[in-house]
Symmetry: C2
Subunit: 243 residues, 2 copies
């Protein structure tokens, strides 16, 4: 144990070990204690079986970060694990917002859900794209709708995080309606559940019929731009090369 | 050598080995031949020192993909390497566009430049963001400007790829001007050269003064949203938690 603690905020990627980076594994191995939401600790259980771990409940992100900070203040090297990339709707921001000491923080980037889902679908993010979360727990819903409108207006590819939960079902319907103001009905849409982890399920459909398919909180939805197309079961957005 | 070839389109991440995924390493190890732009082959030279490799010149992306496809048609397992994530302005799309056979293609996602740069800066991508390339080699410049305008209108964080080259200097000036229609002069801007690889250089500045700093083709620029701020030398975009 060092006299001075350190926090690694570690992205463990989409879920399968093989999509973790070497640095993520190294940071976890180097740590005295691993803090994270229990689902993520479970994903990396083989890696942390000899490690001290700690957790807090769902939606207790602030408490979990304070826990990590407290361990670091005691002199520990702490790995705070986050799925995907910790810098995208993950724990990197909250750790940096809460920390008030001279404790070193290192963000270890990972493969984010948008990138993992894109790989499962083909190559939908090959041109300018937007990443947007439909969760209005922490964001004003009017701002979310304004952003979807802007994404449509700019003909961006749109990667949607948190598209629907059990209690929150209307947002994805609204998003589709707003995008239909700018995008054709037959715009390709990819729906990926559990991208690059156990239980992966990939659906390629269109903006017109996307709501006929299962969409939940483990799903990322990617809506194409005006040039996206489907080829041999893959979703492709051209970069612009002459083929 | 198999009777039937396969192409892995492999993202090698930002450049340092440690930020490659296990799957990227496995795919390269499994391959009979590694195809890529010479700069990328050089980055992974230790990993491929016993491998057959092939390349094509800069801007010869189409030729490089056809080379990989030809090797696969001959029955080889081919790793086509791309920096960052091959699904973001990389080779994934072009391979899928060009392939016309029954050759299996697997996209191996990697840590993209936006995510690596964000980790170097702190946590600027913690809320909805846009990824946009300023290169007008393959994209109509009016569309690029329309997208920057839409990104400003939606108060997105904006991650800018290919911000400036030796010959193409005006685009980043235009982008800044368009964003200033919507964003405050003191909006934090992160400028990262060689993120997470040898020669990394991180500058945190503002939209007002960003052009006083060096920006080139090895640089990613991240412009904050209306809530982004600088704390202890890190750029942070709040997710919205009460602190």
């Amino acid at each position: 144990m060092n006299n001075k603690g350190k926090i690694y905020v570690v992205g463990i990627g989409p879920g399968n070990y093989e999509h973790m980076t070497g640095m993520a594994i190294k940071a976890i191995e180097e740590s005295d204690i691993v803090v994270g939401y229990s689902t993520y600790l479970d994903i990396i259980k083989d890696l942390i079986k000899d490690k001290k771990t700690d957790t807090s409940g769902m939606k207790k992100e602030r408490e979990r970060c304070l826990l990590a900070i407290d361990y670091a203040k005691e002199g520990n090297i702490v790995a705070m694990v986050s799925s995907g990339d910790p810098g995208v709707y993950g724990m990197a921001g909250l750790i940096l917002e809460l920390i008030s000491d001279e404790i070193e923080v290192e963000i270890v980037p990972g493969v984010s859900a948008a990138n993992a889902s894109a790989a499962a679908l083909g190559a939908p993010l090959m041109h300018d794209y937007v990443v947007i979360s439909l969760s209005d727990l922490l964001t004003d819903y009017e701002l979310i709708k304004r952003r979807i409108d802007a994404a449509g207006r700019g003909d961006f590819v749109v990667a949607i995080y948190n598209p629907r939960s059990k209690k929150r079902v209307k947002q994805i319907e609204d998003a589709r309606e707003i995008l239909l103001k700018y995008k054709k009905k037959n715009t390709p849409v990819g729906i990926v559940k559990n991208a690059k982890r156990v239980g992966e399920n990939v659906v390629i459909t269109t903006l017109d019929t996307m709501l006929e398919h299962e969409i939940d909180m483990f799903t990322t939805v990617i809506v194409g731009n005006n040039n996206s197309y489907i080829k041999d079961g893959k979703m492709v957005t051209p970069r612009g090369y002459k083929i």
